[in-house]
Symmetry: C2
């Protein structure tokens, strides 16, 4: 591989930016990587582990001379960060972001973009339940989607160059209109996260069941909810506040549907339940066939678990 | 290890019974293993893969002379199966079941248990999203809980012997009152499953988002729901119908709680959301510390994903 950007500035040094740093180094994709994080602790950690070539105490210094700037902060902080760095951007630079919501990020960031600078919004569909500068790893994006939602007047060459970087880090890219992105993600990510948080919260303050029981007997089902519900609280607060309409729309549909199934349980309508569960099983098959998960029996992820022969 | 039961009869040859067969063989825990399944296809498959020493065409033949009989059929079928085998049970035999609901199984099975036969209800908290005679593997129960809900007049020696078998298969045992079991499992397993089924169903008939999009972009969150929602439809239909009260109770609490969070999103109350998500994160920590899951970042389960250093 060869260098795609001479100088990449990472603003925010959490899981995504950290994984980008590892992936760009592994592939030799960036000539020089600078970084900035708001918290002094994060900057210190990043320096200790050598996450970037240089970590600066201000975003302005970090972006100086960069031909790619990556905004990797919570969605609610994107606008402020962009306003801060705008006067310091190099002419012709590309700005991208990695936020989970696109319409509100565009609304917050675009007004601050100086003429001659290319803003190309993006969203890697990759992550773990861990966060912080130590959580990144080079293979995070491998075989994962990275959605780009370029604005109508986007510079085709700038988009193609960013696309090359993303592809070189192992991800697959796709382009999508920002509003549609926000609806699709409300279904596949935002609503599921809120639901998982809710179920874990219910378990937490159910007095007749002890915390210890909830924890000990979490193996089937609940454990996967807690995994989702362990994701970064600030990131997720911002996602819900910034993708409010789509998330509330999907949650409304979810509640309707849940009431239909609750009613089937109450009325003892086994046929309706069985039909429903048979349909949902087919969707799982589609996800495995699309290569978005493996068939290995994950529920049995005890030490030594292995797929059936 | 040494033989704990001379002859074990497995009634129903799905994931749990199959995994028991593998585990008992691996540990040399049963002198002879017989099996029966209602479906001729399942019996044929079990014979082809040599799952048991002998597979019979009737439950009566399978249980003849067995000192342990395991009822491993859907919860709704337990009563009928027990009525069929009751006249053929050896004196002093132990009957156990592996159903996910205990009160209704006890109500259905106990009346048919002949004098001198020991009925000890049980529930292994282990499984995968796969089912059928080919889905079992010996390590399924390793480090997993297996709850026993013996009746007040249970024979202590018979319970201790069953406990030895379960422990020898790698599981940890605990005892619990049947009603409490059903509530705990409604929280940790039954409600989460219904919720996952519901969310997958919502995604399935949302016209503005294509099936392909739902499948392609399922990486963060939704994918884990589809995994849960791929579990056996018949088993789960029976669980909900047979643990109706506790499941509806928990789902009612869940809906209340979800409405509170939806309202916080609608009102833009970021503090409430952040506080909530911070609490749920702590529960995840508890589950990892209790050894019920690993800290490896499962969201990044792309080929080559590895834990952060």
């Amino acid at each position: 591989m060869s260098v795609i950007y001479d100088k990449v500035a990472l603003i925010g040094l959490g899981l995504i930016a950290g994984s980008m740093a590892h992936a760009m180094r592994e592939g030799g994709l960036a000539g020089h990587i600078t970084g900035f994080a708001r918290s002094p602790e994060t900057r210190d950690t990043a320096r200790q582990i050598g996450l970037c070539d240089q970590v600066f105490d201000s975003a302005a210094e970090a972006v100086a001379g960069a031909d790619l700037v990556v905004l990797a902060v919570p969605v609610g902080a994107m606008g402020d960060v962009m306003a801060q760095i705008a006067p310091h951007l190099a002419p012709g630079a590309t700005i991208t972001d990695v936020g989970s919501v696109k319409q509100s990020v565009i609304a917050a960031v675009a007004p601050h973009v100086p003429p001659g600078v290319h803003f190309i919004p993006g969203h890697p569909l990759a992550g773990t339940e861990h966060s912080g500068p130590r959580s990144g790893f080079a293979s995070l994006f491998r075989n994962r989607w990275w959605l780009l939602t370029p604005l109508p007047d986007a510079d085709a060459d700038a988009v193609a160059r960013l696309d090359r970087l993303i592809t070189a880090m192992g991800a697959k890219t796709d382009r999508m209109e920002a509003a549609h992105h926000d609806l699709v993600l409300a279904v596949t990510s935002h609503a599921p996260h809120l639901i998982a948080y809710t179920m874990v919260g219910v378990a937490d303050h159910l007095r007749r069941v002890t915390d210890e029981e909830v924890i000990q007997y979490s193996a089937a089902g609940f454990r996967d909810f807690t995994r989702i519900a362990a994701s970064d609280p600030t990131m997720w607060r911002d996602v819900f506040l910034h993708n409010r309409e789509a998330t509330l729309d999907i949650l409304g549909r979810f509640t309707e549907e849940l009431f239909v199934l609750q009613r089937a349980i109450r009325m003892g309508d086994g046929q309706q339940l069985h039909d429903y569960f048979t349909r949902t099983r087919a969707i799982r098959r589609g996800i495995i066939e699309a290569g978005q998960d493996t068939e290995a029996p994950d529920f049995g992820r005890s030490p030594g678990a292995r797929p059936p022969e």
